[in-house]
């Protein structure tokens, strides 16, 4: 059973990570190519606190807070630039994160942080916690979307200028999106640290950021259910694909390309076409 439990836990952590990016990119239309940095902040925060003797549940809020704080800083930077510039800026953030962390001996330097203490919940217990968190984040995403904040996020994604004209404090909402999304990424990072009990700076770099963005886009930006499914599937893919071993990444790249080429709205759009060919395109999942 251990294998299945480990796999489910890994999937749950990836889903939380993907949903957190979905909030920023999907709901708010801000493309982030550096989301892994926030997961990294959460992971390192939790790891350091755990090694200092803090209990598992106490490390989680700190991880979220620190990640969210960095998110606000990056969010403020995003206010000065638009669209494609933002993508590159977020890319810069993740490179800076990795570049700085790997030089800090107190954070483990190149050797990373190992022997992260056990969470004390047992394998099944931990899986339960991550699955619960996963569901909570999904519900939170849906809730945000339905409330006023969600509608503003949507408006910003569709047409930022009009929103400004309407008198909406666009910057504040953008910042809110970044704060929530990055804090949740920090949560996934904390789980990650406890799950693997070993972290290194290079585990939270550009490639990981691209990977999680791909999950969101593959699922269908904005769609909570399909991003969840896509993240769950894609994170387990390497495990299932051991059979094709050598061709794993080739298939992965090919899949991404084919999906974008033939269904840019991701799995969500595919599902819509399959199950509801007559309906007009709505922003719902």
């Amino acid at each position: 059973m251990n294998y299945e439990i480990t796999l489910l836990t890994t999937m749950a952590i990836s889903v939380i990570f993907a949903l957190s990016l979905n909030l920023i990119t999907g709901f708010c239309g801000q493309i982030s190519l550096g989301h892994a940095a926030f997961q990294g902040v959460g992971a390192y925060a939790a790891a350091m606190l755990a090694k200092a003797g803090w209990p598992f549940f106490a490390t989680l809020p700190v991880a979220m807070l620190l990640a969210g704080a960095l998110g606000v800083v990056v969010g403020m930077a995003s206010l000065r630039v638009r669209e494609d510039f933002l993508a590159i800026t977020t890319m810069g953030v993740v490179f800076l994160f990795v570049g700085v962390v790997r030089q800090q001996d107190w954070l483990g330097g190149e050797l990373g942080l190992s022997a992260i203490p056990d969470h004390g919940l047992g394998k099944t217990g931990f899986m339960g916690v991550t699955l619960l968190a996963c569901v909570a984040v999904a519900l939170l995403s849906i809730h945000i979307r339905r409330t006023w904040m969600g509608r503003v996020f949507n408006g910003i994604a569709e047409d930022e200028d009009t929103m400004r004209v309407l008198g909406i404090d666009v910057p504040r909402y953008k910042l809110a999106a970044f704060a929530i999304g990055t804090a949740l990424a920090g949560l996934s990072g904390a789980f990650y640290a406890y799950h693997l009990q070993f972290i290194g700076a290079e585990n939270f770099g550009f490639i990981e950021s691209i990977t999680v963005l791909s999950m969101v886009v593959f699922g269908g930006i904005g769609s909570v259910a399909w991003v969840l499914i896509a993240a769950a599937l894609l994170s387990a893919l390497p495990a299932w694909f051991q059979v094709i071993g050598d061709y794993k990444l080739l298939v992965y790249g090919g899949l991404l390309f084919v999906m974008m080429r033939f269904s840019p709205g991701g799995m969500a759009a595919l599902a819509r076409r399959l199950f509801n060919p007559m309906a007009t395109r709505e922003g719902k999942s």
């Binding site: 480990t6 972290i199 990444l249």
Partner: protein
């Protein structure tokens, strides 16, 4: 209540045995192997896999163990802890491997180590140098010298060459960092002078600014860590800029590709490593010959250490008749092994103590230069109290 006929249990057992897939009836002895076949470390992954496969093939050609064949169960971990964890869990749980061998880098191996330890399945590590791996528990074994040990050996080599002023160039990862740490430790013990230290990223191939600065530093010798894809360009560019002083590398350079890339500039480069190409040992020469026959290319350090780790695991299995668990752990711990990378024995932390080979590039190939055998300097760490 009617009781079952006496032969019922036997019948049931037979039915179950028949229902299982054929392979399971003749259960091979499974050796788990995690290796980066894809991803940024794929080059080393290929070497490691070739080395391990050779060891298994040779053992099977000799009849296997107690009449059963050995099977190498390979998982690609992309040198990532995140991939290694499920792979290794599956290896232990589903494939039921009796021993694990790591052909991968430190990050993934470290993550895998705790899982093997918890499951009480011995794990023999080929070339990952992170100190915490053996600290994960007594089911861990490492067949190569740790970074710090090699680094100290490098300092001794500088002294042997009669030099004093060194520039240290370090590749930014755990391998480079531990080598540098060991070198600096040795340097202070041996009163060497480190003029300057520089670092570069593993993905770097162009070292223009670095070369200019090093030239300006004018050292007597350069201690540079890196893999063949860093070292090849680095050495070539240093020589091209007119830097003629000796360059000392380590086992990361230990590959024919280094000579291919740097060409004539590679002549005279010294490396501290575990593989002695000019060794008198039949084990080493047989390995080198067989490896070339099987793959068409010369063996490098990664292949040699993976071959060794797998052979050590197989030797242990020979002693226990194919069983794993505590018996295997004890068998491994108490054994002595004659391997291509030297005569090995494990200390209480299951690290190895062995001489450091110094090779030099001459006529486009690695040859023996000298051997460093200072037991105190090269002592691996032992179990913390």
């Amino acid at each position: 209540m009617k009781s079952l006929p006496p032969f019922a249990p036997k019948l049931l057992a037979a039915a179950v045995a028949l229902a299982l897939p054929v392979g399971a009836a003749w259960a091979d002895i499974k050796i788990g192997f995690n290796v980066p076949s894809t991803g940024f470390a794929a080059a080393d992954g290929k070497s490691a896999l070739d080395g391990a496969k050779l060891a298994v093939a040779e053992a099977n050609a000799k009849g296997g163990i107690a009449g059963e064949k050995l099977e190498l169960v390979v998982y690609d971990d992309q040198a990532s802890p995140k991939e290694a964890v499920p792979a290794v869990t599956k290896m232990i749980e589903k494939d039921k491997v009796v021993v694990g061998v790591s052909g991968s880098y430190s990050g993934s191996t470290r993550a895998a180590a705790s899982i093997f330890q918890k499951a009480q399945v011995p794990y023999v590590v080929a070339y990952a140098i992170h100190p915490d791996i053996t600290l994960a528990g007594d089911y861990m074994f490492r067949v190569s010298a740790m970074g710090e040990v090699q680094g100290r050996g490098g300092a001794k080599l500088v002294q042997n060459l009669g030099k004093k002023n060194v520039v240290v160039i370090t590749v930014k990862n755990d391998f480079g960092q531990s080598l540098a740490a060991g070198f600096k430790e040795g340097a202070s013990e041996l009163s060497l002078k480190i003029i300057n230290e520089y670092e570069y990223g593993m993905a770097d191939r162009q070292f223009g600014p670095l070369v200019s600065k090093v030239k300006a530093d004018n050292p007597e010798v350069i201690y540079a860590s890196g893999y063949y894809f860093n070292a090849g360009p680095l050495v070539s560019q240093l020589r091209a800029a007119g830097v003629t002083v000796p360059i000392i590398g380590q086992e990361g350079y230990d590959s024919e590709k280094f000579v291919d890339i740097a060409g004539p500039a590679s002549e005279g480069t010294l490396i501290t490593t575990s593989l002695d190409r000019d060794s008198d040992s039949t084990v080493t020469q047989t390995f080198l010959a067989n490896f070339r026959k099987a793959t068409g290319v010369g063996a490098d350090m990664v292949a040699a250490s993976s071959y060794t780790a797998t052979s050590v695991a197989i030797e242990g299995l020979r002693k226990t008749g194919g069983k794993g668990g505590e018996a295997l752990k004890n068998a491994l711990a108490s054994g002595t092994y004659d391997t291509p990378i030297g005569k090995l024995a494990f200390n209480d932390l299951h690290e190895v103590q062995k001489n450091l080979q110094v090779q030099i590039v001459k006529d486009k190939a690695f040859h023996r230069h000298s051997v460093i055998s200072d037991a105190v300097l090269l002592a691996p760490p032992s179990k913390p109290k």
